[in-house]
Subunit: 196 residues, 4 copies
DNA sequence: TATGAATGAGCCTTCATTCAT
DNA sequence: TATGAATGAAGGCTCATTCAT
């Protein structure tokens, strides 16, 4: 829905979304004023409306961008049981690196999605994609003989994603992230031990 | 202050909090109007201010109440490996029964807590209590010999709570809860298998 | 659409409409700020919204009130040809007295009505009522033998109303009202002479 | 300033005014955006400001142009009483043809003129010119012996113009124009009958 | 001369909060 | 204690106007 369409104008749009992410992360969607975002950018309020027709539309832009962000991979890990702990840590760090700063917005998005069907659908689908991505990784491990065939990998995949989300909640509550990582590692080790 | 009046006051206060929980769950904190809450109660807006000095104060009341709610126990479960699956399901259902309807408010509370230190502290401490509660349960299982001694039960405890929270997020996104339960069961079975 | 319903609250509503009429008359609909109206009343802006859900709604309230205002009668006049001039003057003054101050709003209403079907309908029907009212008066004159039977009284009725409206336009343009009255009298005299 | 450029400028200026007339007619002065006008022309918003220094200035340009438009004549009519009706109709059609589409803007101009002295003066003078024009026509009829000498032709002239204006209001309200024409004819016939 | 992205003052509307009854 | 009309600060959004290209 960009009103302004030309070469580098997509870049401005991106900058706006970035600023919005920062603002929404710090203040939350409702408490963030359009003015805050524009001032953060050194732009005028009116300019935002050249790129997004409303505050909600901008939020949707943020969602879109956030949902696009997660796509990298952590294959090649978990090939030896002995490395389980360090492998788990690496994955945790990888995900966190990707998400850095987005936790808050993500939660907002989840909350908001209960009211906004369009957003809910987008998030739902993104979640499915993540589940699939993880599931694929697990399946490879099954093929490699690293995980037993009779394990419900689909269930495990969903659970792993949920586990990470839940730890993100912990982080927001101020739980030291090293504790979260420990929890993640402990769980993963147990899972691997129990599944292989 | 006579006891009777006091009792009445406490009761009205509770009713207000209940109504607030419902409203916040449906519309979210920011989008809920004091008017909505009072109308839901059949009370006048002004009355709310006799019991809570501000909307935020009311929200804190909601938090307080929500945090008080979770305390029951699921000991006696997980005594035989063979029952792992059904035991896991029972736990899932128990928790869900306790939390029913509160998911949304909980998330809001987490989000809000990043801005409100008082709330953050309360939620943090509640989380710790829950962790301890779960940890205690796990420790009993260690004593019973059901879980190996070299397992990081503290980590597992935190992870289990996080897992549940993450599944609550899934639920909010519209993921069918039977899928969530499956994920929960799959994970718990693996954990038990790997830890015992 | 009054949100506030009680005894004297209708009076407040009326006062608001009155203030709105004055403001709209002086500044025009678009250029009038809700603030102007509330300040004129010594009320707060917010209060207006307890009685009217939007600026447009308030304008509709003004229309409604304005349309209700015109209902009096000038029968008993025009019974003798000799009095035609003074009778005409009396009618002119009567109408002007009723409309005093509303010319401007009326014009605004007409202009606005081209965009607002609801308003257009209301004004159209009001006009018809006025036409009928005048027509009835004329018919009586026909019965009394004051006007010839072969005159198109329906056409004359409409024309008389239009004539008055057109003179109101003159008035707005600054044409001295005594000139308008003269025109009115000249026309009416000619009409009577030609119709009787 | 070379003549050629000047000619081009004048033409563009005219096109802008035309577009403005159309826009103002459809949406009204206040609700019309400079953007609407420029888009209607296929010009950029900025260009408008090369020709008119403000929206109000453009409106004044529209007024100027509208006021220039009315100048044609209907002499030669009303020479025989028997033709009164058809003559009246012809006049009605002639005027309407000249004004076609301008009714709305005219009304806007009247309304606006109550706030804008410059505009008010222009419209006032234009009205006087029209009055004079009609008066002249009527005087000729007096000379021709078609109208009696003791009739207040000045008053009748003004009244005729007002009558037409009033019927234009009717038209805006959705009154079928054939009804308006009938009213016009009825009135004119009566006037002629009464004045000759 | 022409453009159209950027500006920012301004206005409608909402809603938490107060207070007279 | 309970009410609900009144308040007014605050924020989303619009649009006339400017200016660098």
């Amino acid at each position: 829905m960009p009103k302004v369409t030309s070469a580098h104008k997509a870049e401005v749009r991106d900058r706006i979304v970035q600023a919005a992410i920062e603002s929404f992360s710090q203040t939350g969607y409702d408490k963030t004023k359009m003015d805050d975002i524009s001032r953060r950018l050194g732009l005028s309020k009116g300019t935002l409306y050249l790129y997004f027709k409303s505050k909600e539309d901008l939020f949707l832009g943020v969602c879109e961008m956030s949902l696009k962000a997660g796509d990298k991979h952590d294959a090649h890990l978990f090939t030896k049981k002995e490395n389980a702990a360090s492998d788990a840590e690496e994955i945790f760090d990888n995900i966190r690196r990707r998400e850095r700063g987005n936790d808050r917005v993500m939660l907002e998005m989840v909350v908001e999605s209960t009211r906004n069907p369009r957003l809910k659908k987008a998030m739902y689908e993104y979640h499915l994609k993540v589940h699939e991505h993880v599931l694929e990784g697990l399946k490879k491990k099954v093929e490699e003989g690293f995980i037993r065939k009779d394990v419900d990998v689909a269930g495990i995949a969903i659970a792993l994603v949920a586990l990470y989300d839940g730890l993100a909640v912990n982080r927001m509550l101020g739980l030291n992230d090293s504790v979260n990582k420990k929890a993640w590692v402990a769980m993963l080790k147990a899972v691997i031990a129990g599944s292989s």
